[in-house]
């Protein structure tokens, strides 16, 4: 029953799986670049969910064609919202990458666990 419904809603299903994989990458991989890729995957999964919500089977892209009336256009609103979302995700990645670079310069590693160890040593020395 569940599987049947998931098959009907397969883009949402894929979005959930992608979300889970991204979350696992962010939470279990110690490497900072991997974490950033994971965040991007999570955000893409959410965008996928939105984009799927706007689609209609047999619809055409929401570009008005005045010569052939009677077409079924898909909903343009999710696309418009996700354009904003993509810009946001690019901005976040850019800022995060610059921070990763500075962290690397300071600690000499991209491994979050080793950075945490070094940081606690620093605090103990205070």
């Amino acid at each position: 029953m569940l599987l049947n419904k998931l098959l009907i809603n397969y883009p949402y299903f894929a979005a959930v799986i992608l979300f889970a994989v991204g979350a696992v990458i962010v939470l279990t991989r110690a490497n900072l670049i991997k974490k950033l890729i994971g965040i991007n995957i999570i955000e893409s999964a959410v965008f996928l969910m939105f984009a799927a919500a706007g689609n209609i089977r047999g619809g055409v892209p929401p570009i008005l064609d005045q010569t052939s009336p009677g077409r079924v256009y898909v909903n343009p609103l999710p696309s418009a919202l996700m354009l904003t979302g993509i810009v946001v995700s690019v901005s976040v990645s850019a800022l995060a990458l610059s921070l990763v670079y500075r962290v690397y310069k300071a600690y000499g590693t991209l491994d979050a666990r080793r950075i945490a160890e070094m940081k606690s040593e620093v605090r103990d020395r205070w």
Binding site: L7, F47, A51, G54
Partner: protein, 86 residues
Amino acid sequence: MSLVKLGLVDYGNMLMLFVLIVASLTVYFIRDLLHAVIVYGVFSFIMAVVWLQMNSPDLAITEAAAGIITTVLMMLVISRTSRREE
């Protein structure tokens, strides 16, 4: 199954979504960061294809461009830090 008969299943789209999941799993397992970033680039390109299939060309073209710029920036940072995941 009945779903297939009703024409409710779009195999091309499903295949692309499957490739997306495989790509994300590859990012999890791969050790070389440069390869991971390249796989991410592929991921965002496939995502653009998926959105094209879902009738949102605006989204597809923007995702393609944004995926390239993110990949470029990530490669830039990797080239100046370390390439291996310890």
